[in-house]
């Protein structure tokens, strides 16, 4: 569905993404794993054209629409969740007649409801849910989630992962970047482990069916520095 090949990016002569290649398959959840500074977020930003790539090819078919949830979502604090969704929906040129209904449904889906609470009173978990809701505006076929569980407490993480799993079951193709391996393990179909901009290992759901947990694979890969 989305193919990335030979993607590279340097900042001030330092390579932060180094010839990264992968393919996301329709209906799958693809995970980008790695420690801080591995180049996960930069890779995501290049796919979204938020950062200019130095080299490589990103192929996204013309009929594929993409929704994006940022790592640290910030929304205007004096607006309500509904107003935020209406704002982004209008920017997306979603017809006004269907927009309000769609925003209401999305807020219900992420468990926020049509409450009148202003964003400034939102918890971190509520902000992440709202970020996910705005990513789903216009019913995109691909969702790109940058650290959707960042800053959430245990319960918040469980709820967020359940939500992502629900979206996957609905047929969404998801690219997700996370530090929390146990979360990824529950929902992902395949992924890559990155270190210092390079892909060290590729894995699929089948690799996780054995005795090795994703955490073991991750630790072994990073310590061993195996490269594919």
């Amino acid at each position: 569905m989305i193919t990335v090949s030979g993607l590279s990016k340097s900042y001030n002569g330092k390579k932060v993404v180094d010839h990264v290649s992968f393919t996301m398959r329709e209906g799958n959840l693809f995970a980008l794993l790695g420690s801080n500074g591995a180049g996960k977020s930069t890779t995501i930003k290049m796919i979204l054209s938020l950062v200019k790539k130095d080299e490589g090819i990103i192929e996204i078919p013309g009929d594929v629409s993409v929704g994006y949830s940022p790592e640290t979502p910030y929304f205007p604090p004096f607006l309500t969740g509904m107003e935020v969704l209406l704002y982004y929906g209008e920017l997306q040129k979603i017809p006004r007649e269907t927009l309000k209904e769609e925003c209401g449904a999305l807020l219900s889906l992420v468990g926020l409801g049509e409450e009148k609470t202003k964003i400034k009173f939102y918890s971190k978990g509520m902000l992440q849910r709202l970020a996910l809701a705005q990513a789903m505006l216009g019913n995109p076929s691909v969702l790109i989630l940058d650290e959707p569980c960042a800053g959430l407490d245990a319960m918040g993480r469980i709820e967020m992962i359940e939500l992502i799993f629900k979206l996957k079951k609905q047929g969404k193709t998801i690219l997700m970047n996370s530090h929390i391996l146990s979360d990824i393990e529950k929902v992902c179909d395949e992924g890559i482990i990155m270190k210092k901009g390079k892909v060290l290992r590729r894995f699929t759901k089948n690799d996780l069916k054995g005795e090795e947990s994703l955490e073991t694979i991750f630790t072994k890969t990073l310590n061993g520095g195996m490269q594919v």
């Binding site: 979204l48 938020l50 929304f75 004096f78 209008e90 920017l91």
Partner: protein, 256 residues
């Protein structure tokens, strides 16, 4: 279907209006106006106390204009840089919105918020006029405010455009410099004549570049008090506004 800039402006303005800061600043400015107009303080010009409604109204009008311009700088300086700092811009770019539409919408929201704050001050000035028994200025004050708003809009738009290209500190310095040169245009002209040499030439250059905001303020005052105005000043100001707005299309901002 609404334009992207219009949608961005509407939302940014709605957010602004709900914040308390705009009203606190305006309340403080009104308090300042009240203090200046009360018997507690006396305003002197050339060593003589300013008395009589017309003189006091002129002073207060100039004060409203000055405070309005200061508020325009304060309210417009951070809007665009903060959008980038908080990465709000990313959620806009992924929706294929062009930079000029994004910046244009935010700059328009700045202009509207600045005019709203100036409007509150102008309303306080109207209350002052009525309290002094000069209700006849109320009606002409409405178009007079439109004239004055050209000056406030210019300062707000200029600072917004500068904040696209330059860091906040530099944009603030440029904005304050333009405001001071514009608001005290007449005084600066005198200063330029006194200076001479290279300093005088530099002053001449700045005064040529910066529109006469004081002239606009005077025009608004004259309109409010039923005197004639120099229309060419209004056209010069409209031209200056158009020139500055070009910056929205020319200047590009890099992601933080």
């Amino acid at each position: 279907m609404k334009s992207s800039a219009g949608i961005i402006m509407k939302t940014a303005l709605k957010e602004r209006m709900r914040r308390k800061e705009l009203y606190i600043i305006a309340a403080l400015a009104i308090l300042l106006l009240f203090l200046c107009s009360s018997d507690v303080t006396s305003i002197t010009m050339n060593g003589e106390a300013v008395t009589g409604f017309k003189n006091m109204f002129w002073v207060m009008h100039a004060l409203v204009h000055f405070v309005g311009c200061v508020l325009a700088v304060v309210l417009s300086l951070h809007t665009i840089p903060k959008e980038y700092e908080r990465k709000n811009s990313h959620l806009v770019w992924v929706r294929n919105i062009r930079q000029e539409a994004y910046h244009g919408g935010l700059a328009l929201a700045n202009v509207c918020a600045s005019l709203w704050a100036a409007g509150i001050l102008y309303a306080a000035l109207a209350v002052y006029a009525v309290a002094k028994g000069h209700g006849e200025v109320l009606l002409p004050m409405i178009p007079a405010f439109l004239i004055l708003s050209l000056s406030i809009s210019f300062v707000s738009l200029f600072v917004s455009v500068m904040s696209i290209k330059f860091p906040v500190m530099a944009a603030g310095i440029f904005g304050a410099a333009v405001m001071v040169f514009g608001v005290f245009h007449g005084m600066m002209e005198l200063f330029k004549n006194m200076l001479g040499g290279l300093g005088g030439k530099c002053m001449s250059f700045f005064l040529f570049l910066v529109p006469d905001l004081n002239g606009i303020q005077n025009a608004a005052y004259r309109f409010a008090t039923g005197e004639g105005i120099k229309v060419h000043l209004v056209f010069v100001m409209l031209f200056a506004l158009w020139m500055v707005s070009l910056g929205l299309f020319v200047f590009r901002k890099k992601e933080a």
